[in-house]
C-alpha cells in the first residue's frame, strides 16, 4: 500500500516476496522450473500490484516486437479506397481477437521512390516482426526487399513470383466464371466483361474465369478494358448499349462499373433488370442500397483477415519456411440487376 502510484516491475515484485527477479520472470512466463506454490504467490502478487510487463524492455532483450506492420500503399488522391479502409478495420479486429498482445502498427508508404526506404527504416528499427503487404503488384520491389532481408510477410494479392512467398488472394477466376455462368443460365447469349486494366494481376484472372464459362457455353467472348472513374465506364456502356447486337449480360470488374452501366441503361430507356442484367464485384455499400440494387460478387473481409493471420502465425512460430497461401472464395449475391426473369426481346 505504501508503494503508491509507482509502476510495478519484476524487481518490485521480487523484493516484495523476497525472491529473485529471475524466478518471478520465469514464473510469470510459465516456465516449469518453479514450484507450484511459489508460482501462485508470484501470480497473486503480480495481480495485486497490477503488474504489466514493460514492452520496451522485453523487446530490447528478445529482439522481437510482437507487432505486425502495415504500410499503407495509398497516396493522397487515393484515399477513398473502400477495400483498404474496411480491410484495416477488420484486420485490426481479427488480430486482436487472435492475440490481444500483438500490436498492429499502421504507417504509410505510397508507391514511389521513397517506398522502399520506408520499408527499410521500418525493418531496421525493428518495430515489427512481420508485414502485411497490400495492393501487391506483379513485379513488386517490396516483396524482393522483404525476401532479401528475411522479414516475414504476407501479400494481399499474388505477384510474379508467388511461389516463394506467402500470399492470399481472391479467387477471381472462379468468381467470374460463376457470375458469367449465372447469366448464361438465365438465357443470355451476348455477355460482355467490363474489365480493369491488365497491370493488375487480378484482371487476367477475371478474363480467365469469364472465358472459361463463355467457352463452355459456346458463346462469343467480348471484353472491354477500362480505367475506373466516374466517366469512362459510363461512356463505354452507352456505346455498347446503342450498338447493334448489344450485349444483354454485363459482368463488371467492380460495382462502380456496374453502377455506370445501370445509369447508361436508364438513360436509354433500357430496364437494367430485365432488358439487360448486370453483375458487379466487391459489394460496395451503394450496391445494396441503390435503385436498383446491384448483384455482386462478394468476399468476406473476415476471411481475408483470418487467412492472413493464420499464415502470419505459422510464420512467426515456425522454424523452417514453407510458402503458404490461400484463395478466398467469391460468393454471388443476386440482387435486382440479375434476380428476375430475363426477357431477351426487350
Amino acid at each position: 500500500m505504501e508503494k503508491k502510484k509507482k509502476k510495478a516491475t519484476l524487481k518490485s515484485i521480487a523484493q516484495h516476496l523476497n525472491i529473485s527477479v529471475t524466478t518471478v520472470s520465469r514464473a510469470l512466463s510459465g516456465y516449469n522450473d518453479v514450484n507450484a506454490q511459489t508460482r501462485q504467490q508470484i501470480q497473486e502478487a503480480a495481480d495485486l500490484l497490477g503488474y504489466v510487463p514493460n514492452l520496451a524492455a522485453r523487446r530490447l532483450v528478445t529482439g522481437k516486437s510482437d507487432a505486425i506492420g502495415i504500410l499503407l500503399p495509398v497516396s493522397y488522391g487515393d484515399m477513398r479506397d473502400h477495400f483498404l479502409s474496411h480491410f484495416l478495420l477488420h484486420f485490426g479486429q481479427s488480430l486482436y481477437a487472435h492475440n490481444p498482445n500483438l500490436d498492429l502498427i499502421v504507417s504509410y508508404a505510397p508507391e514511389g521512390e521513397k517506398e522502399l526506404a520506408t520499408y527499410q527504416r521500418f525493418i531496421d528499427s525493428q518495430r515489427v516482426d512481420a508485414f502485411v503487404v497490400l495492393r501487391s503488384r506483379m513485379d513488386d520491389a517490396r516483396v524482393e526487399l522483404l525476401k532479401e532481408q528475411k522479414v516475414p510477410f504476407v501479400t494481399h494479392g499474388r505477384t510474379q513470383c508467388s511461389d516463394d512467398h506467402n500470399w492470399i488472394d481472391t479467387d477471381a477466376r472462379a468468381g467470374f466464371d460463376l457470375a458469367t455462368q449465372s447469366l448464361i443460365d438465365k438465357g443470355h447469349q451476348r455477355i460482355t466483361l467490363l474489365n480493369l486494366p491488365e497491370r493488375m494481376f487480378t484482371s487476367h484472372l477475371r478474363v480467365e474465369g469469364y472465358e472459361d464459362a463463355i467457352a463452355r457455353a459456346g458463346l462469343e467472348s467480348s471484353i472491354h478494358t477500362m480505367e475506373m472513374n466516374d466517366e469512362i465506364p459510363y461512356q463505354v456502356a452507352l456505346d455498347l448499349l446503342k450498338a447493334d447486337k448489344a450485349p444483354t449480360g454485363f459482368v463488371c470488374a467492380s460495382d462502380v462499373i456496374a453502377h455506370q452501366v445501370v445509369k447508361a441503361a436508364k438513360e436509354l430507356g433500357i430496364d437494367p433488370c430485365k432488358d439487360i442484367q448486370i453483375i458487379g464485384c466487391d459489394d460496395l455499400p451503394l450496391s445494396h442500397l441503390g435503385d436498383p440494387t446491384i448483384s455482386t460478387l462478394r468476399t468476406s473481409l473476415d476471411d481475408h483477415s483470418q487467412a492472413i493471420i493464420k499464415i502470419l502465425q505459422s510464420e512467426l512460430n515456425g522454424q523452417i519456411f514453407i510458402p503458404r497461401n490461400k484463395l478466398i472464395n467469391y460468393e454471388l449475391v443476386e440482387r435486382q440487376t440479375s434476380n428476375q426473369a430475363f426477357s431477351p426481346d426487350g
Copy 2:
C-alpha cells in the same frame, strides 16, 4: 566492410571512430556540445553503416514510446462503419506526413465491460504516449480513466465534460442550420428533420441548428427521431409522404436516411428532386453515384486528422495542460436532390 550484416549501433559507430558512445548519441540527436567536425564525421559514419536507432532501447530509457494509440470501438456486427474505416486511413496518412517517426498503433476495445481494462493494459504497458478516442459518448468512462491516469488524449466528438479535455467535433449545429436554410431559401414551407437517437451528442446539435433556421423563418418545427437501418427510415418517410400537408423539405442526419426518403418518394410517384427535396449528411460514396445523386453535408477527413494531430502535438510537447478543441465545418454539397428549382405544386 568486414562488419558484414551486423546491425549498426551507437557502440559500433563509436568504436569505428574511436570515440565515446555518449558523443555519438549526442551528436546524432543534435545536442550542441559536440564539435561541428566531429558531428559531421559521426553523421557520415552513421549514414555509411546504415544506422537506425533501436526503438525499444530508446523507449526503455526515455519512457516515451513515440506512438499514438487508437482502440477501435467497433464490435463485430458493426464493421461496416464508413466513417471509422476511412478516418483510420486518413489519420494514418496524416500522422505519417506530420512526423514519420510517430507510430500509429491500432487495437480494439469494443464498448462493454472489458473496454476499460483494455485501455488500462495499454496504458500500463506504455505502448503509446497518447490516445485518440473515437465515438465519444456523453458520459464516457474512457475519458474519465485517461484523465485520472494523466494520459494525453483527444476525443472525436464532445462529451459531458468537454471543458476539461481535448476534443474535436463536427459543427453539426452550423451545418444543419445551413442545410435547413438552403431549403428555406428554395421556398420550402414544411421542412422536417429526420434525426438519429438522442443518446448521441451530435443529435442534439443537429436539432439546435435545424431549429435555429426554422425559427428565423417563422416556420413550424417537425422532428422525427429513428434508428438507422435499412427499414425504419424508409417506413417513416413513407408515412410522412402519404400524410396531409406532407413535408417537402427533408434534412437527414445521414445519407443512408436520405437515401431511404428517395426510395419512398419514388415508390409513391413523387419526384425526389422537384416535388420534394432532400439533404443528407456524411457524403457516403453512394451519394454521388446514386440516382438521383444526393445532396449532403460533407466534412473533410483530412481536416479531422489535422486538427487531432495539431492538438496531440502541443499536448505532447507542452508542459502545462490547456484543454484544446476544434470545430470542423460542414460544407453543403448540392446535388440533384436539392439543386433544381422547387415546384411546391407537385
